[in-house]
């Protein structure tokens, strides 16, 4: 069973790499052995993820989150100064 899983995983890697290098997903799926339907589904999913418009952090949200980072940085600096240490 371990050997079968290794072969399957190896095949999955090969097919994902082909997808990354731009090979059409239809061709990749066609070349898959008929019994590897689960790998086919995973490749199809990866292809959809690859083609999908990814979510983005809005400018406002990005600034809001950076404010938290900045506050934390200033707190750390204050603590380090109180303890007599530098940041790095």
């Amino acid at each position: 069973l371990e050997g079968i899983k290794m072969n399957k995983d190896q095949l999955l890697h090969e097919k994902l790499s082909e997808l990354e290098s731009g090979k059409p997903v239809a061709e990749i799926l066609q070349e898959l052995p008929a019994e590897m339907t689960d790998i086919g589904e995973l490749i199809m999913l990866a292809s959809n993820v690859q083609q999908n418009a990814h979510p983005t952090l809005s400018h406002e949200a990005a600034r809001k989150q950076f404010e938290k980072v900045r506050t934390s940085l200033n707190t750390q600096k204050t603590t380090k100064v109180k303890n007599g240490n530098g940041l790095s």
Partner: protein, 164 residues
């Protein structure tokens, strides 16, 4: 960005330089957010966790060694650990579906409906994946990390990632 420029920013950031930290944030925040969004399925959790990643980055930056791998891989390792901690705390996998937040352009209502439906299906299929494949898909196809960077982030050898 050239690696040398990024290393200069990292070096400045290690000393608490706010401008350097804001540059590193601007370079990496979108990619980190995207990864977290796919991992959690929740925009607001992903937004909050994005700042947590960079806060953790500031605390741990002195430990980063460029010889051990790219800065991206190191940052994704922090991100991955934080998302694992998040699951441990909530003790559940994400439930909220990703819908209209995915849409970055403004297509017509019909196209929006089709796209939303496709995205819902996509996320629900990703949620069904075993954790190792979920991370693999997110790192390679959302974050577009190389096999080497993916291996470093997951704490595996390149051969084992190739064999995943």
């Amino acid at each position: 960005m050239q690696n040398t420029e990024q290393y200069r920013l990292i070096s400045l950031a290690k000393n608490g330089d706010e401008y350097a930290i804001s540059c590193l944030y601007d370079i990496h925040c979108q990619a980190i957010f995207r990864f977290l969004y796919y991992r959690t399925g929740d925009r607001y959790i992903a937004e909050d966790m994005t700042s947590e990643v960079f806060i953790q980055m500031i605390c741990s930056l002195h430990k980063y060694n460029p010889d051990s791998g790219s800065f991206s891989s190191w940052l994704y390792t922090i991100t991955r650990h934080l998302s694992i901690d998040h699951y441990r705390k909530t003790k559940s996998r994400p439930e909220q579906p990703i819908t209209e937040d995915f849409i970055s352009s403004s297509p017509g209502p019909e196209a929006t409906n089709d796209k939303t439906q496709l995205q819902d299906e996509l996320i629900s299929k990703i949620k069904e994946l075993p954790e190792e494949y979920r991370e693999l898909i997110a790192l390679r196809f959302v974050s577009q990390l190389s096999i080497q960077e993916t291996a470093l982030t997951l704490g595996k050898t390149i051969d084992s990632v190739k064999g995943m």
